[in-house]
């Protein structure tokens, strides 16, 4: 029989206001095995933990139930407290009487009754707990970064600077990401390329960083400290070692009609291309969809003009398998599709563009070589209208329910830059709210209004109507003056909502990292663990976790790196001891469990057993506890009940069921 101590936490008034904690403690004493019960203001405080330790010593406790907040919150705290007092940490169970009780119920009697039942279930479980000892697993001292934008680059640099090997996997032919497409950056108006390019160069030159561009993660297996990842290096059709980056092939390529991804499809590129001048690596790829050689078998001009003989039409995709201790997701974002917002005439007029397209228009390397002009007729605009919140803060299925966060600032930036460079252009911004929290952000926005005379109007635009004269009639409302506005504009810029990169769902599934309804990766704790996924060993960097601007992304990238370094710095990891194990005398050797194990942790061996005096060799399931992650799939697949899960055993769960239904 166990000697159980029950500790009921008030959590200030969080629990005590709705649950009669003294009553829960009193009722606990009537439960089998319970020899001690008390309630206290804050069990998680030092004083609270001391009470647990004292009781363990004085009452010789063999098991502990803490009735408090969610085990996801403080299970580790109380386990450590018990361990310090000499008790096996796995003899501690938590009854969640805060999140699952006091916070959701109002009636004290009802909540107290429920708290008592939850306490009983935990006591029933502890009665069957056994001391468990964690195993150890090794840590591969290498990190994988998925995505080579500013988030991925920064995380890679920080991890590599700490002395660990880092691989970056980037889907496109060059690292750089969205930031490489930006012209200037707020709030200081630095040229984006000027601050990004040195980072790209540093990453590519770093001896600890290895970059796989034009590559994708194909398969992930393993677990924290010991992931095995298959990376598909797509056929570039150009030998990376031989290519000198001279660019002649791109010049001579006769197929120049492919839309340029880098310029958001506003102009075209050759079939063999590097996405932009500062691309890293500076080695082109052949777009096999656009290449005449691949389409018709004739051409081969690039091969003829290449002095280095680097063109290789026969190149095939290559699969690289590598082991990693930590994985950082930095898959970034894209703008949403605007098909459902036809009231803004995006599909009808070339002069209605997204803000990201405007970045390309403003950029010297862009389709207009940096001149602000209408894409329909090349004329300089006189009236420009910016529309905020296009697809953001939208509760129907046309857009996204969240605020994209970066639009207010970049719109102020665009407005300011245009007014600065083209003082004769009138700029009007239609906004719902202007949101500028951040260092020097509101000052920046005010400068746009006060110094540059940008006209901000509170009120969303209802419709943009292309006119026969080529102008765009913008129908908006000014909510402050209570009048409707009809404005003829030459160009309209839509602050289009951003969404996580569409590939992230596939990647999250491979990583078994959880994802929310908007496809943002979920963090382990919204406040306290914002750069970690709930899946151990997976870290989050940049917009894949939620909308962010560049300063925030870089800060989070550094934070993710520190978390990854903290993991890689360990030689061994303690493994979860709640693993499956098979009772040799009950095992049929039928392989059912092996078939459902996602980790390949179960193998079959011929072993001699002594079954009540009968000695024979049997085919038996053996669990590799270093591989087992404790899901329990095998325990239900096993018909004989030979397979059981430590910490969540059949009898423990049944004891909980019985206690609840009592």
């Amino acid at each position: 029989m166990q000697r159980i101590g029950v500790f009921v936490c008030h959590c200030g008034s969080n629990i005590a206001a709705t649950v009669d904690v003294a009553k829960v403690a009193e009722m606990a004493l009537m439960e089998p095995g319970v020899v001690h019960a008390e309630d206290y203001q804050y069990m998680c405080s030092e004083a609270g933990q001391a009470k647990i330790a004292d009781a363990i010593h004085e009452k010789k406790l063999s098991g502990i139930v803490v009735c408090s907040c969610s085990p996801r919150m403080h299970e580790a705290t109380f386990r450590k407290a018990a361990e310090r007092a000499g008790l096996n940490p796995y003899m501690v169970e938590i009854a969640n009487i805060r999140e699952h009780c006091s916070w959701i119920h109002k009636d004290m009697e009802e909540a107290t009754k429920k708290a008592v039942i939850l306490m009983r279930a935990a006591v029933a479980k502890v009665n069957l707990n056994t001391p468990l000892k964690p195993g150890e697993s090794r840590v591969t001292k290498r990190a994988l970064i998925i995505g080579g934008g500013i988030a991925g680059i920064q995380t890679a640099l920080d991890i590599a600077d700490a002395g660990y090997e880092v691989d970056i996997v980037e889907k496109t032919p060059s690292i750089g990401g969205r930031m490489s497409q930006l012209d200037k950056t707020f709030p200081t108006l630095d040229c984006s390329a000027c601050i990004l390019t040195p980072k790209m160069v540093e990453a590519s030159a770093h001896e600890k960083i290895n970059i796989y561009t034009y590559s994708e993660v194909e398969k992930v297996s393993g677990f924290v400290g010991d992931f095995t990842v298959d990376i598909r290096k797509k056929a570039r059709s150009v030998d990376m070692d031989k290519c000198t980056g001279c660019g002649v092939c791109q010049e001579k390529c006769p197929s120049k009609k492919a839309p340029s991804e880098f310029n958001r499809g506003l102009n075209t590129r050759s079939a063999i291309y590097t996405p932009f001048a500062q691309a890293i690596p500076n080695v082109p790829v052949i777009d096999r969809e656009a290449c005449i050689k691949f389409k018709t078998g004739k051409c081969g001009i690039c091969s003829k003009v290449c002095q280095a003989g680097a063109i290789d039409y026969e190149q095939k995709d290559e699969i690289i398998t590598e082991k990693y201790g930590a994985i950082v997701v930095a898959t970034g974002f894209d703008t949403i599709n605007l098909d459902k917002y036809d009231e803004y005439a995006y599909s009808q007029s070339k002069d209605v563009i997204t803000s990201l397209e405007l970045e390309r228009v403003m950029n010297a390397a862009g389709p207009t070589h940096g001149h602000l002009e209408r894409l329909s007729d090349g004329k300089a605009p006189k009236e420009m209208v910016f529309i905020q919140c296009v697809g953001s803060r939208c509760s129907d299925d046309r857009g996204k329910p969240y605020c994209s966060k970066i639009c207010c600032m970049y719109t102020a930036k665009h407005a300011m830059l245009i007014r600065d460079k083209y003082p004769d252009v009138n700029v009007t911004v239609f906004y719902i709210d202007v949101r500028t929290p951040g260092k020097n952000f509101d000052e920046f926005y005010r400068r746009a209004v006060e110094q540059y005379g940008v006209n901000y109007i509170k009120g969303q635009v209802g419709k943009v109507i292309p006119q026969p004269n080529g102008k765009l009639l913008v129908q908006g409302s000014d909510l402050l003056d209570n009048k409707q506005i009809l404005k003829e504009a030459d160009m309209v810029v839509l602050a289009t909502a951003i969404e996580p990169n569409p590939d992230v769902r596939k990647i999250a599934t491979m990583l078994t990292a959880s994802i929310d309804t908007n496809n943002f990766l979920t963090e382990a704790h919204a406040k306290l663990r914002p750069v970690e996924s709930p899946t151990a060993g997976i870290f989050l960097s940049g917009v894949c976790q939620g909308p962010k601007d560049i300063p925030e992304t870089v800060a989070q990238a550094g934070a993710a790196a520190v978390k990854a370094i903290g993991l890689l710095a360990k030689d061994k990891l303690m493994t979860n001891p709640c693993t499956a194990h098979s009772d040799e005398l009950l095992c049929n050797g039928c392989s059912t469990c092996e078939n459902v194990c996602p980790y390949g942790a179960i193998t079959y061996e011929d072993k001699e057993v002594n079954d009540h005096g009968i000695r024979e060799v049997r085919r038996l399931a053996v669990v590799n506890s270093a591989l087992c992650q404790g899901c329990g799939a095998c325990t239900v697949a096993c018909p004989s009940g030979a397979m059981d899960l430590q910490g969540f055993s059949n009898r423990q769960i049944i004891a909980e069921v019985d206690a609840i239904c009592r």
């Binding site: 009772d583 005398l585 009950l586 095992c587 049929n588 050797g589 039928c590 392989s591 059912t592 078939n595 459902v596 079959y604 079954d611 024979e616 085919r619 697949a637 018909p639 004989s640 009940g641 030979a642 059981d644 059949n650 009898r651 049944i654 004891a655």
Partner: protein, 324 residues
């Protein structure tokens, strides 16, 4: 039958097999029982007739541990069970010499009795070589006749076919016996109201005496130790606390063999209380066929079983309510 005995003798004598697993006559004309024969001489007691319903594949679990090969006589439906046991590594194919025996439907003595035939002394027409469609039964009240088809086990009316799925050689002719649809009875129950369903199963299951015959005969229920005998789930067999335990036993039993049950029908054949236990197994088979694609356990030895398999698009559990 003689052909079978002759061949068994031959294989015993030339040392191919060390023993023969078949049936010998019981103490009544209609209850032959599974038996081992270790010498050519002992084969004089060997029988194979319409009452040899017993599925011998389960015996091969133990026989696989013995020295030398065992000749085992398997009817077409028994071979599914044998395949399933191979898949689960419970029998050793190398230790078995399988003679696929012909089958023209197996008989159910209860069906004969239910037709008012009592005091049976002897039965003619049940021999495997006999082509008669009638049984001639000598009783202490005189001779009675019963149509062969009317005396057949339920499972033979919905026979899966007379093809042996695995064998070393085949002996004896088979005759098609299927004249019904396998899932008709299940469909009929599915259409009842919840109260009617409950009443039906309550009535049937209340007869259960927990003798475990169904479990012991079942080739899929071959656990070394049943969960209802161990204390892994706090469920070891004891006096029933409540009427629910029978249901729990039968639901769990059916669930444990779901996707593994070949529908051999032995559970219902041996139940001394006459509970139609196959209706549980067949419900799972029907659901699996409908939801996850047709699957016949024991059809082969390497396919993935439905419960250790999945697709992303699998039906949600809410389908149960929607199907009505």
């Amino acid at each position: 039958m003689q052909e079978l005995i002759n061949r068994a003798k031959e294989l015993l004598e030339n040392g191919t097999v060390a023993r023969v697993l078949g049936w010998k006559a019981g103490d009544l004309p209609y209850n032959p029982e599974p038996a081992y024969f270790e010498s050519a001489e002992s084969l004089k007691d060997f029988v194979y007739n319409g009452f040899c319903g017993a599925n011998l594949s389960k015996y091969m679990i133990e026989a696989s541990k013995l020295e030398g090969k065992t000749l085992v006589c398997l009817k077409p439906c028994d071979t599914y069970s044998f395949n399933q046991l191979i898949k689960e590594h419970r029998v050793d194919r190398e230790k078995a010499y399988i003679i696929g025996v012909g089958c023209k439907g197996k008989l159910d003595i209860e069906k004969i009795r239910n037709q008012g035939v009592k005091g049976i002394e002897s039965i003619q027409g049940a021999e495997i070589t006999d082509a008669a469609d009638e049984l001639k039964i000598q009783t202490i009240y005189g001779e009675k006749t019963v149509a062969y088809a009317d005396a057949m086990l339920e499972r033979c009316h919905v026979c899966k076919g007379k093809e042996h799925k695995i064998f070393d050689e085949e002996i004896g002719e088979s005759k098609e016996t299927k004249d019904g649809e396998r899932f008709d009875e299940v469909s009929r129950i599915e259409k009842m109201s919840p109260a009617e369903k409950f009443a039906f199963f309550q009535k049937e299951l209340s007869k259960c005496i927990r003798c475990n015959a169904c479990r012991n005969v079942c080739p899929a229920c071959s656990c070394r130790k049943c969960v209802f005998d161990s204390n892994k789930f706090d469920s070891s067999q004891k006096a029933n606390v409540d009427s629910f335990e029978e249901k729990m036993f039968h639901i769990i039993r059916a669930f444990h063999v779901a996707g593994r049950c070949t529908d051999c029908g032995e559970c219902s054949r041996v139940c001394p209380q006459g509970i139609p236990l196959h209706l549980f197994n067949r419900k799972f088979i029907k659901d699996i066929d409908e939801l996850y694609g047709e699957y016949q356990a024991g059809d082969d030895t390497d396919s993935k079983a439905p419960l250790t398999n999945y697709t992303f698009e699998d039906a949600e559990p809410s389908i149960v309510g929607k199907r009505g």
